[in-house]
């Protein structure tokens, strides 16, 4: 009992809200009306909530249905990011546009840009390679990718570059952590003296952090940004993470940012391409999309 709702049912719920009838939603999903009816019933049974108001003139969402539908849509949006990203990741060989990106860009920005690009250039198949900033520069230099995105503070030689987004590291803690009630900002020394949840050595985030505060004391060393994020939310301790990774959590209170004095934790995310050459075709469009969405 209490199984997780499956994604297609959530999509069905959203569609019912938009189209005003179970039957129309069924047609949109390319399933039969009875299937949709049964699916919706099981979704309601699983959540133990009445979600749709059925009537002979169609169906509409109940109040609960509207709220759940909104949450559902966010789930579907994140899934969309995953699928767009996965498709780009898989390309590599036969892609029509190959790009490389460092972790932060690949995780948080690239899927959106690619989705936007593809909305204009229909059916375009993009290949996305994810590595560290140094390798991205190499790939661009050897023309194995048409465009690269890096997060290093300096522009590697032999490349043109354009700033496409701003990023900043933030000290974050769980809401019940004592630091969330501090009245004055942390000092750099306090931060350096406190054991932190950190990424592994060699990650861009860890590099930026150590460049700013010197050596850090690892409390827990984890292999991905969101693993760190989860650890912090579960009360493991403070961490320093890209605001891109935690903005939603800051907004809805799952995490709290702690201001810090005397540290510059900003960094630019840049697009790079072979110097001299002028960008053309899809690469130029993607760059334009990226630049435009940064402001």
């Amino acid at each position: 009992m209490s199984q997780p709702p499956d994604v297609e049912s959530l999509r069905l719920l959203v569609l019912v809200g938009e189209l005003g009838s179970l039957g129309r939603a069924a047609r949109a999903l390319d399933i039969s009306q009875p299937s949709a009816s049964k699916r919706m019933s099981t979704l309601e049974r699983r959540l133990r909530l009445e979600l749709v108001e059925r009537g002979p003139g169609g169906s509409s969402l109940t109040t609960a249905g509207r709220v759940v539908s909104d949450w559902a849509r966010r789930v579907l949006d994140e899934l969309d990011v995953l699928l767009t990203g996965a498709e780009a990741l898989r390309g590599e060989r036969d892609a029509e546009l190959r790009v490389a990106a460092s972790m932060t860009v690949a995780e948080h920005l690239a899927p959106g840009w690619i989705a936007e690009l593809r909305r204009n250039a229909d059916g375009l198949y993009v290949g996305l390679q994810v590595t560290n900033s140094g390798t991205v520069a190499d790939l661009v230099r050897r023309s194995e990718v048409a465009l690269g995105f890096i997060e290093s503070p300096s522009v590697p030689p032999g490349l043109n570059s354009r700033r496409v987004a701003a990023d900043r590291l933030a000290v974050v803690v769980a809401p019940h952590h004592p630091w969330s009630r501090r009245r004055r900002p942390l000092t750099a020394a306090e931060l350096a003296a406190t054991p932190l949840v950190v990424r592994e050595l060699g990650s861009g985030t860890r590099d930026t952090l150590e460049r700013a505060v010197g050596a850090v004391q690892p409390l827990l060393e984890l292999g991905s940004t969101t693993a760190v994020r989860s650890a912090v939310m579960n009360g493991a301790g403070p961490a320093v993470l890209s605001v891109l990774a935690v903005q939603a959590d800051l907004a809805d209170g799952r995490l709290v940012e702690v201001p810090v004095d005397g540290l510059d934790l900003r960094r630019s995310l840049r697009a790079v391409w072979p110097s001299g050459r002028k960008l053309g075709g899809h690469a130029a469009t993607l760059l334009a999309v990226a630049v435009r969405s940064s402001q």
Copy 2:
């Protein structure tokens, strides 16, 4: 072919990354090791990506696996919001703590607060009622709920209140909309003269908007914030939405905010409770959580 990945497989992927072996992940999910193995294979086949590096000493994520795992975690987090919210919605009758909230709070903030509250008060069952701000005030006055959250500009009589979060409406367009390339802010008059994608009459967002700019010209009238958001992303036209609803889209470039001159689109989200009485028990804790996560 190309079926959507199911949620449990995503959870499995995340767990493999955290625990370092398929078997341990299987135990964590309370399924057998062969099931996990098969599941992971089908996930890889569906995404057509190699996600885990299998070896006799355990399994680790490939580069692609780490990236996908991060996206997966975000999907799971949103699903968590949905489930927490659904549980709160369903309470109502036998809940140990009953609260009421207007749409904006219920959608974007309440699930996080409730999850946080329950992390401290284990097993607490919270009932959440979602209506408009006026009804919330009534419910609080009649003590049908212990605490309410409203988004109206003034505090209804007979109630104590405390500001728990700031909100602001923002003009947003799709990235390829001409307004995204404007160099100077919109004027209030321009905004009033442009047909907008709006919520239905009576919604808090619509009210706030009309109070600020006078009458608006509906281009499309939709029943939920995220429906409006989707319409905008699909190029229907500009809309004015709570930043809480669109911050993630602004960050990853799916939407672009257009600055406006001469309009105050800010609003406060407030907690309300019967005046005179002092808040106690879980209600007081929830208020503290809400206040704390707002800063």
